[in-house]
Amino acid sequence: MRILIVEDDEDLARQLQGALDDAGYTYDYAADGEEGHFLGDTEPYDAIILDIGLPIMDGLSVLEKWRQDGHKTPVLLLTARDSWTDKVAGLDAGADDYLAKPFKMEELLARLRALIRRSSGNASSELTCGNVRLDTRNAKVTFDGQAVKLTAQEFKLLAYMMHHKGQVISRTELTEHIYDQDFDRDSNTIEVFVNRIRKKIDAPLIQTVRGLGYRLDDPEE
């Protein structure tokens, strides 16, 4: 899952990055509205954390522009202003959720998980596929009830595929969603990760669709 953080306060941005890192997300970071808007406009993100008070271009304008251009990425608004008038303005501009400062990181992560889950059509915070369970709350994966040890990149790949179960996902799409923009992308690494996951989880879950990419199939469906 790849997240965009648009926040001008350096310390808060650093904390957000740390928290997202720990939770197994990939992220990009912009410190002003203009850069934030550009990234959101050009890169595929699974969710965006957007501060309202930003230099150059304020968060609400950024959000409105994205929505006008047809971007549907879920957006979590961060704001110091928590009056209902501000909430109405934020949600009317197209935000999917609204979090007032100061906030606890757990609260932010919980809201973020809910946003991503809802946008991919999943109702529960625990994603399942056959005997594999992935808990988005604590980034734990089990197979037949046994914990599976995955590296960060392996987890990110599996999580993205489990959010988009049954869909054909290209290598490029996987690369875009598990690496941040600065990473030197080599789609061959995706194949390496897929093979490792196949070894760690001994079930025919990830299907290779020749010439197109991969698909996660649920044997029970």
Partner: protein, 463 residues
Amino acid sequence: MAKSEKNIPVFFNNQALAGRLFMLAGLWVLLALTAGGFVLSNIFRDFVEENFDQRMDQTLVTLIGASVPNQDNIIQLNRPLADQLFEEPYSGWYWQISGPNIEPVRSRSLWDYEFSNSQLEDGDDGSSFDIIGPDDQELRVLTQSVTFPESEMEYRFIVAGNIEEINQQVGRFDRILFWSFGGLGIGLLTAMILQVGFGLRPLRLIQKELTAIRSGRYRRLGRKYPAEVLPLVDEVNDVLDYNETLVERARTQVGNLAHALKTPLAVLVNESDSSKDSRLKSIVEKQSHSIQTHVDHYLARARVMGRSRVLGVTTPLDPAVDAILRVIPKMHKNKSLNIINELPKGFDVFAERQDVDELLGNILDNAAKWTKDSIKISGHYELGEAKNFLELVIEDNGPGVDLNKIPQILERGKRLDETVPGSGLGMSIVQDIIDLMGGSIQLSKSDMGGLKVAMRIPAQAHT
């Protein structure tokens, strides 16, 4: 206005404009009428006295013409004087003809009385003077000394009339003068009261409009005033504008400060959260919470205090309700909410939009948090004596609350269920706003099963 001043009628209160105008005009009318009356009365007296003197002179000339002295130098009248008053004893009109060493000849009206030389010696011939005559009557006297060719003796002819006759005529005139001038004075003062009342009506209108502004029915004074008052009206409107700007600026500044503190606060809280030093973690957490409480408190205060001075603001209810109802489902996507809106349309409430948003947002968010799936908004308009009210009811079909715990819900920072996220400030903000609007709020159990929030807030049909 001080209490002691309230008991004095306004037209006799020198602290009142009407009183000043009325008393000054009253004084002027009183002086003018008194002086006028005095002058007129004196002119009339002079006129009556002149008439009186002419009548005496005429009588004197007739008397001299009818007088003939005989060989004993006794004056005899060759014809009687026509006026009957000279025949009636003590009638007030007298004549007498005196000469040296002779018995004076007298009118019958003098009866047994005779004017003595000593009484007459102060007076000159040809001009009238006053003496005391028979029966203590005050008399006006005219004398003329005559020497007839037939006799070498000098006679003094005396005619006297009762001054009372002059006094009676002047008195009658004075009475007429008094009543007519009195009537005129009362008429003038009445006209004055009407004039002052009419002239000062714009000031009373200003007072009425200011009261209306205080109660929130108007925002500014109207401009339908006379030219003299318009500058005052414009000044008052400018002061109202300035006041609003000032309050708004102060509120914005408090808001900016409070909001500016929130990002650093968020950083501190999160930084301490990830710290391994448990003592540091606990101190930062405690102090940050304290700062957060202060910030929220002053934000709430700035809102409440600011609003209570910004007067005369109304907000259309429908757009505010629509906005909150639009965002509530977005904020509670985990539930499929069925919101029934039966609120009558077209009303304004006496509050700022932000307060209305806060009021509805908090209550509806609370309802959405607790409801199973349905929220109902209903209401009806009530015409009151001084104000009209909108009874606004928001209820849900959630588990409801323990009726005994209802008073706690509106307390600041109180949360009945700590497991559901929230600051616990929402419902106390609701209470503050309701107080500010001059309304009331009641919590009870809804027929739908959950909490029923019934508010009675001052409102007016949308104009």
